[in-house]
């Protein structure tokens, strides 16, 4: 028994990503068609020549028909899956395993979410009949993640005003990056004071501490690593895929202190083991992380091993994760500025790794770390909340190790 990983056995050879936006004029079908067509063109493989499909969507459709119908796929295997906000990454993970197993030569992972047709503010989950007696429905997503902020401040002795500065700095950075991304939902820099004084949503979080609610789709085409150069001269080799669903004990176990996602720490450790990474902060060229709310990104810097425990807030303030920092985090603007169409987000993160490691990112956000020779990127995607979550981490690289 053991987890062995599939380091360098499969590669991504084509990707597509729609703009993330309030697409009042585009349906789920339109978005799927757009990203699938772009990925297909990018790899030079016609859609109906692909062997299998994994579709991730949390609530924009059920079954493989959600993809096969708009694409008029010709009796292909299509799996529709869901794993909360890590849904897009889960589609990629399963597609990679299918190719690595030898079952298929080529596979597409595609994610989509059409959130803006609901008419509601924020995310709204599909109700599951329940007894209404476990507090699960008491708090909205921002309220749930905001639980991290006072706990972190208390544990590490950060004054609440300074804590607000830290959170504000994270949102400011991601908006700065998003302003350099034509696909992003929010493409303007936002002054620190505007972020800091934005209307309260939950706890310490204002509206600018929350990720954008948007529509979008992203897709990747996966082939065996040895076939990769048939399709592109700059494939991305999959170094690590790691996923965990936690025991969900944080809301019932007083030992959990709301300053960490233990699931993420476990998931990242496994990804680094598979990829052979010892010091992610100096080895990675970039990290795309799940910044659903600003305190999440803060805590992730520690769980992903970029900062020592209790130190991330200082690293944030010093600019270590800025576009020109030591380790750029969310250079595409992240969930915060790029937007968060649930099923698409994990693949959108991979799309930024695709652009950056291939040197195709727009000049205004091209990373010095890549120019200086770093070749690996991390994508991190989580679903749930503090105390009970699922976590995904992948490492991809532009070079195949020996």
């Amino acid at each position: 028994m053991g987890s062995h990983g599939i380091r360098d056995r499969v590669a991504i050879v084509g990707m597509g990503c729609t703009d993330f936006a309030e697409h009042w004029d585009k349906s789920t079908d339109d978005l799927l068609l757009e990203s699938a067509t772009a990925a297909s063109a990018s790899a030079g493989i016609p859609i109906n020549d692909l062997d299998a499909f994994w579709l991730g969507t949390m609530g924009s459709g059920t079954s493989g028909l959600t993809l096969s119908r708009p694409l008029r796929l010709d009796c292909k295997p299509v799996t529709r899956l869901e794993n909360m906000c890590a849904t897009g990454s889960e589609a990629l993970r399963n597609a990679c395993y299918a190719v690595a197993s030898g079952a298929y030569d080529t596979a597409m992972a595609i994610g989509v979410e059409k959130l803006k047709d609901s008419g509601y503010s924020g995310l709204v989950g599909a109700p599951i009949p329940n007894a209404g007696d476990d507090g699960k429905n008491d708090a909205t997503a921002p309220a749930n993640f905001s639980l991290l902020a006072p706990a972190y401040a208390e544990r590490y002795g950060v004054d609440l005003e300074e804590m607000k500065d830290v959170l504000t700095r994270i949102a400011w950075k991601n908006h700065y990056n998003g302003a350099r991304n034509p696909r992003a939902q929010f493409r303007k820099e936002v002054p620190l004071e505007t972020i800091r004084n934005s209307p309260k949503i939950a706890g310490m979080l204002g509206i600018f501490d929350c990720s954008g609610v948007s529509d979008g789709s992203a897709a990747a085409i996966v082939v065996r690593a040895k076939d990769a150069y048939k399709y592109t001269d700059k494939p991305l080799f999959v170094k690590a895929l790691s996923f965990v669903a936690g025991p969900a004990t944080g809301l019932s176990d007083p030992e959990y202190d709301f300053t960490t996602f233990p699931e993420v720490a476990a998931c990242a450790a496994e990804a680094y083991r598979q990829a052979g990474i010892a010091d992610p902060r100096s080895e990675l060229a970039l990290a795309e992380v799940h910044d659903c709310f600003t305190p999440t990104e803060l805590v992730l810097m520690e769980d992903l091993g970029f900062s020592a425990r209790g130190e991330a807030w200082k690293d944030v303030l010093s600019g270590a994760f800025d576009l020109d920092g030591e380790l750029p985090v969310n250079p595409d603007g992240g969930l915060k500025a790029f937007g968060h169409p649930i099923g698409a987000s994990g693949l959108r993160m991979m799309f930024e790794a695709w652009l950056q490691l291939r040197g195709e990112a727009p000049a205004e956000r091209a990373l010095r770390s890549v120019a200086e020779g770093r070749t690996m990127a991390l994508t991190h995607n989580l679903g749930g909340g503090p105390g009970e979550c699922v976590s995904f981490a992948a490492v991809v690289g532009s070079e195949r190790s020996e």
């Binding site: 503010s121 009949p129 007894a131 708090a139 909205t140 208390e154 939950a202 019932s252």
Partner: protein, 484 residues
Amino acid sequence: MALSGVIAYGTYLPYHRLDRRRIKEVLGAGGGKGTRAVASYDEDTTSMGVEAARLALAGVADRGIVAQLLFASANPAYADKTNATAIHAALSLPSETLALDLTGAVRSGLGALLLAGQSPVPTLAVLSDVRTGLPGGADERDGGDGAAAFLFGNDGHRPVLAEVVATASATEEFLERWRTPGAGASRVWEDRFGEEAYVPLVEAAFADVLKHASIAAGQIDHLVVSGLHARAVKRAVKITGVNADAVADDLVAQVGNSGTAQAGILLADVLDRAEADQYVLVLVLADGVTALLLRTTPALIAGRPSRSTRSQVGAGNSALDYATFLSWRGLLDREPPRRPDPESPASPPALRRLDWKFGFIAARCTQCGTRSLPPDRVCRSCHSIDQTVPEPLADVAGTTATYTVDHLAFTPNPPVLVVVVDYDGGGRLRCQLTDAAPDEVAIGLRVEMTFRRLITTDGVHNYFWKARPVRDEAGVPVVADRRP
């Protein structure tokens, strides 16, 4: 065999008060002096009844002695369906305990006490009411919300605190106060008619109860006269001729008149300060007159509940504004957040988890001692399966580990306060905090559990538990120096 009587009692007055001056400030007229008690947006007659009964039964080691539960309210949360069963479940009473409603009329309050006092088996009477009327009216101003619970019996094991000496009633059909089902406000006939109609009924019931007890009016040490007809109540006091010193304060100035529950709340207040071997007469004017005469025993002094009625009268918070009061009572619809309506609880899962949902009974692992809320089948610590025993936690306090204030969530009273509670002795639950202002929530805040109606959707009331701050005598929330 010794006389049956009160063996335990308790009251519940909600935390919020409406300062009657707020009414005039908004409406330009009406209102008055003093304050009235207001059930919060998450309370109803059932939830307040649970709170009063919890206090009454706090000192009763074996709740299994309660053979019958009678719930009286003019303002029940459900029709067709029994409301007493929710109280029965929240108190974790045994299945064989009969639970019945006496709902719809104010008269049912003392009626429940009379039936309980006359019952051959230990009977818990729970009286509860939420009173309001149309904005600017006397019922809105003078009404009050609250509950009281009395356990009657004489099982020979627990001392009787006040024996039932005699009862009497005079019944008459006349339209003095009435309300058709579903109507938001009561209607009353001309004041002076009711006053006169009650006179002969008071005289008859008063004379009867004295005769049955073979005592004279001058022997009555405490007189409680309760009723929603204020003039008739005053007149009744005069008719009895009882010394003014012996007439109990009606508390209307502080908490208002809680209708069905008023006689119970005032009786509890008298028992809180009565001496041993005193006569206490309760008269209720409602569709006739009912009388209950009790005689206190020496056991009363040591048998009082841990929270007195007066301490609850004094613990109210009158920061409530009139618009909020109106919205809580459904008289002012406010713009909700752009969010879907909350889900109503589904019946099968609620039944499967009855002990947890209503009784707040968690689980403790017999292998490693870990507490789990809600009860787990697989222990999170040692992973043993189905090795747990029930762990009642409703009366266990806790400390806030972290918290948030949710401005986005749907609630009749934004914002939602959410706390993660670590219970004394182990276990954790994330739940809502109630009876607190947003600036009162903090890490370290000490909390206790209270039974509430979380939300009503599609005609279904979702009853569950919330945390509320533990407050010191000045009303200031208690914050632990450091997390335990």
